[in-house]
């Protein structure tokens, strides 16, 4: 079942087209990544899905309900973890979380229970009486998450939740996100950190200049752009005819040697057995073989001609 369905959505700010005929489907239970450079339109896409900005054209359905027509009913089931920490400085950690719980219709008593669960989930119990200015960057990010998930939403938008924090806090947050997904929440995760998206997401949409330029699982995306694989073989010696024999094999495009590695460029999905057989026949011992597959950055580069950090 599609939790999110965007159909030809366009959003303009003056002369700038922030979303350009964007269509997207996200299934229930997915951890879906929106990957793209800064300014690609990821945050605008989230904002339009939540009707924070009104779309200029196209249709949006969340949980099968039309947005913005069923806005309030939809929003009750959705949580958001914004890119910038969005909490109140004059309220304590506990009060901030409780405020957002009450905002989603829970009674003060229920909100207290939810608050305590959320505090425990992001491991902020020890800091509950502090105010946000007293917290470190990592703790603030965790508070930001707690405020977004305290009402146990079925769909969570996480907009670059790990920007500018230390590795330890990043790992805690990534583990929190996996746990939320394991508990059944559908998560839309935006980032320009490809490593995080590769690590977390089941399916990924690559966004650039307001358009989805590719969508699928990591393997599907990589397959779209990959025509060659590179096998790096660590050898202890080289015989006079080895490189020529390897070059003559079917599906081998290029062979290079840079001691102690032979690098063989192969057509995609070429079996490695003939390579290894040739090495055996030449009595060349090898100690390791690695096959390089493209990263998401390579995919993005191939699709757009630019890197993710641009």
């Amino acid at each position: 079942m599609s939790i999110i369905s965007l159909d030809h959505v366009t959003k303009r700010f003056g002369d700038t087209i922030a979303l350009n005929d964007l269509s997207l489907n996200v299934e229930a239970g997915e951890l879906f990544g929106l990957l793209g450079p800064n300014g690609a339109g990821k945050t605008t896409a989230i904002s339009v899905m939540l009707n924070l900005y009104e779309a200029d054209s196209g249709s949006i359905h969340i949980f099968g309900k039309p947005m913005p027509k069923d806005e309030l009913a939809i929003k009750r089931r959705v949580g958001i973890v914004p890119q910038h920490v969005s909490v109140y400085d004059q309220l304590t950690v506990y009060e901030n979380i409780q405020f957002f719980a009450e905002l989603y219709g829970f009674s003060p008593k229920e909100a207290k229970q939810k608050t305590e669960a959320a505090l425990h989930f992001v491991e902020l119990d020890a800091h509950q009486k502090k105010r946000p200015p007293e917290l470190s960057g990592g703790l603030l990010r965790r508070l930001n998450i707690a405020c977004g998930i305290v009402h146990e939403p079925e769909l969570i938008f996480m907009d670059e939740p790990t920007v500018a924090i230390d590795p330890q806090s990043r790992n805690t947050i990534l583990e929190n996100i996996r746990e939320l997904n394991r508990r059944g929440a559908t998560i839309i995760y935006t980032s320009h950190y490809m490593e995080e998206v590769e690590l977390l997401c089941d399916r990924i949409a690559i966004v650039d200049e307001g358009k989805i330029i590719a969508e699928g699982t990591q393997d599907e995306l990589k397959d779209r752009v990959m025509t060659l694989e590179t096998a790096r073989i660590k050898v202890d010696a080289l015989t006079p005819h080895l490189l020529e024999r390897l070059d003559a094999l079917d599906h081998v495009q290029k062979v290079e040697y840079e001691e102690p590695y032979i690098e063989v460029s192969l057509d995609k999905d070429t079996p490695l057995a003939p390579l290894l057989e040739t090495l055996h026949q030449e009595h060349v011992h090898f100690t390791s073989i690695t096959v390089d597959r493209p990263s998401l950055n390579t995919v993005f580069l191939a699709l757009t001609g630019k890197t993710l950090r641009e």
Binding site: F13, G14, T43, S47, L50, L52, Y53, E71, L72, A73, K75, R76, V78, I80, P82, H84, S86, V87, Y88, Q90, L91, E95, F99, F100, E102, L103, Y104, G105, C147, G148
Partner: protein, 377 residues
């Protein structure tokens, strides 16, 4: 709505800047000004006793009425006459510190000699003697014309022109004006501040936008919570100033009308706030600056902070009574609120304020349509 109100009030009360400007600063102002001005404003204020060196070289015709006048109980409270034989010896008396001022009656002429700069008690004495002379001259003229002009004791003192309380506002008037203007204009402060926080997709407002909450509910709740703070402030300031300014006579204050006028001024402030928020092509900082400037100018022009300045404003620009703060720049309004005055004037003023509101709302609406048409980021 209750959630918003509860947490917003909590935040305001914890915000040190709010606490300072809304409570600490006015309290300091009241205490400071109260200490300085309460003596002038007080009904029980007494001028210090002035030693007057009195030199007389006249006839009974002029001497007796003057001396009778100077021996009156009211005059005796701040004048002590020290007779001297002639002017040089009186001057010596002043130089020795035995007298502060010289009063000479020479024939029909009354002259007051004093050193510059003068103090308020010399000015009062000068004014009283000036009036005495004027009335005495009038009586002489009338007598010479053969017209009977009976001596009237009451006529010597013109309370309208001499009584300080008649020319400057009382402390209660001063605070009613100041606090009422603050009520209205803090409203506009809050509206612009609220609008600044309501930039789409920024700060905590993003979460509010994403929550299942109607914008109108959110705005109403926040407006309500901020006026709760203002009301708390008013009560506290009134209560505090009551102890600083002893002239308060709350028994005569028409609290019902005061509260109604506060509500009207609240609406006025909110309308100004929304108008400024909707001004196109201006940054939030500029809009804040406009409101701040507007508050300061209106506060001063209307006699808040600077008692009596409203009279200066109206002297130069009588139309200001209808354009700025239509409630408090109209003569007689304070009489309605603090004593018993012309109720027609009160209702007319509220009507005038209603017209202001309609104009402000119309402008805000037109401007907001313009903003929406041009779009925002």
């Amino acid at each position: 709505m209750w959630t918003f109100i509860k947490y917003d009030v909590k935040q305001r009360l914890r915000d040190r800047a709010t606490l300072f400007w809304m409570l600490i600063f006015p309290l300091i102002l009241i205490f400071g000004l109260g200490t300085m001005l309460s003596a002038v404003f007080s009904d029980t204020f007494k001028l210090p006793v002035t030693n007057v060196a009195y030199v007389e070289s006249s006839t009974d015709q002029y001497r007796e009425p003057l001396e009778a006048f100077l021996k009156e109980e009211d005059i005796q409270t701040f004048i002590r006459l020290v007779p001297y034989a002639d002017l040089p010896s009186a001057e010596q008396g002043v130089n020795d510190g035995d007298a502060d001022v010289i009063l000479q009656l020479d024939g029909p002429d009354i002259t007051l000699f004093y050193e510059e700069p003068t103090t308020v008690e010399f000015d009062v004495l000068d004014a009283i003697l000036g009036q005495y002379t004027a009335i005495a001259n009038q009586q002489i003229t009338l007598a010479e014309a053969g017209v009977s002009a009976p001596y009237e004791n009451e006529a010597w003192l013109d309370t309208e022109s001499v009584d300080l309380a008649g020319r400057t506002p009382t402390s209660l008037e001063y605070f009613t004006v100041t606090i009422s203007i603050m009520t209205a204009l803090f409203g506009s402060f809050y509206i612009t501040a609220m609008a600044r926080e309501e930039q789409p997709n920024t700060g905590s407002y993003l979460r509010i936008q994403a929550a299942p909450v109607r914008t109108v509910e959110y705005r109403l709740a926040r407006t309500f919570s901020r006026y709760v703070i203002i009301l708390l402030q008013l009560i506290l300031l009134f209560w505090f100033s009551h102890f600083v300014y002893r002239t308060f006579d709350l028994a005569n204050v028409q609290f019902g009308y005061v509260i109604l006028s506060w509500l009207a001024l609240t609406a006025y402030g909110v309308a100004i706030g929304f108008l400024i928020v909707n001004l196109p092509k201006l940054s939030a900082t500029t809009k804040d600056a406009i409101v701040n400037g507007f508050v300061a100018i209106l506060m001063i022009l209307s006699g808040g902070y600077v008692p009596g300045f409203d009279q200066v404003t109206l002297n130069y620009a009588p139309w200001a009574a209808y354009v700025f703060m239509p409630i408090f720049m109209r003569d007689g309004m304070l009489a309605v609120l603090l004593r018993e005055g012309d109720m027609n004037l009160y209702w007319q003023s509220l009507g005038l304020l209603g017209i202001h509101l309609l104009i402000l709302i119309a402008f805000s609406y037109i401007l907001s349509k313009g903003v929406k048409r041009h779009g925002t980021h």
